[in-house]
Amino acid sequence: MSEKASNGPIRCKEARKLIEKSFYDTLTIPEQINLAGHLMECSDCRLWNETERWVRQMARSFFPQQEVPYDLQRFFHKLTPS
């Protein structure tokens, strides 16, 4: 668990930064390897990763998606008839 993490190439704090970065940026190959390696060893960060994904999913539920109105769809098709 946590004690294993400190032996890995990156520590929990860096791993958690990479988890966040993975959502909003592209991880480099070494970053991907480091993160995957750390997650294999550290159950705390695996849980963290899952919680972060859950937060992301929950965030979406605060913003109900609206359907594009029919007349607007018609406008798009009128603009670019095939």
Binding site: S2, E3, S6, R11, C12, K13, R16, K17, E20, F23, Y24, D25, T26, D44, T51, E52, W54, V55, R56, M58, A59, R60, S61, F62, F63, P64, Q65, Q66, V68, P69, D71, L72, Q73, F75, F76, L79, T80, P81, S82
Partner: protein, 213 residues
């Protein structure tokens, strides 16, 4: 590598529009609705955005991020028309939009009222987050934009996006975990500072240990 398109026939313009822009009409409409909180205004805003994008399609580099490109146009139009009440579509240059956006880097979100399906305490708590935080969460987690794209849309540095988003997500997570604890989904033990802070407690302890030795 992508190349800027300079000369396009009407047919090519339509093909490019259909291929690269049409898939994002849903995102565009939802962002417009997010900003205006009004279906009719959102529709008008999207129509104007699309016309503007279509007119300037030669400035778009195919294969780059069409979604971000469209959202920037939409946001700038919104700032022009809805914040400054300058309803003169077609007469305002893109450069003018940009300078307006630079003067007002953060969208006016005073009008935001969320009709979230999550009722009660948690929705109210979410609405209590600062408007900037909600906007950045929206762009990052709902529209699924990257740091760089958000920076373009909000006209702020990437580093600011990163830190602001980190802060906003931390506040959101804390709020959600608190709610989950109240509802009995998680225990008091699960809900502690280490659940929201990216510096785990055992690493803080390691630091203390190494300082002692």
């Amino acid at each position: 590598m992508t190349q800027q398109v300079h000369y396009l026939s009407e047919k090519e313009k339509k093909q490019l529009f259909n291929r690269e822009f049409l898939p994002y009409m849903n995102d565009l409409y939802n962002f417009a609705y997010y900003l205006t909180k009004n279906k009719e205004e959102a529709k008008d805003l999207v129509q104007e955005t699309v016309m503007r994008a279509y007119e300037r399609i030669h400035q778009y580099a195919p294969g780059t991020n069409a979604k971000a490109w469209l959202l920037i146009i939409l946001k700038n139009l919104f700032i022009n028309q809805y914040r400054h009440k300058r309803r003169i579509p077609g007469r305002v240059s893109y450069e003018e939009y940009q300078s307006t956006a630079a003067e007002h880097p953060i969208i006016d979100t005073e009008r935001e009222i969320f009709d979230s399906p999550l009722s009660g305490e948690v929705a109210a708590a979410f609405n209590n987050l600062p408007p900037d935080d909600r906007l950045i969460i929206y762009l990052a987690d709902v529209v699924e934009l990257k740091y760089k794209e958000i920076a373009h849309i909000l006209d702020i540095p990437v580093g600011t996006v990163r830190s602001r988003l980190h802060r906003a997500r931390k506040a959101l997570k804390k709020m959600l975990l608190k709610y989950a604890r109240t509802m009995g989904y998680i225990t008091d033990e699960d809900f502690n500072e280490s659940a929201v802070s990216s510096a785990p407690p055992h690493q803080k302890a390691d630091v203390v240990k190494s300082k002692k030795s």
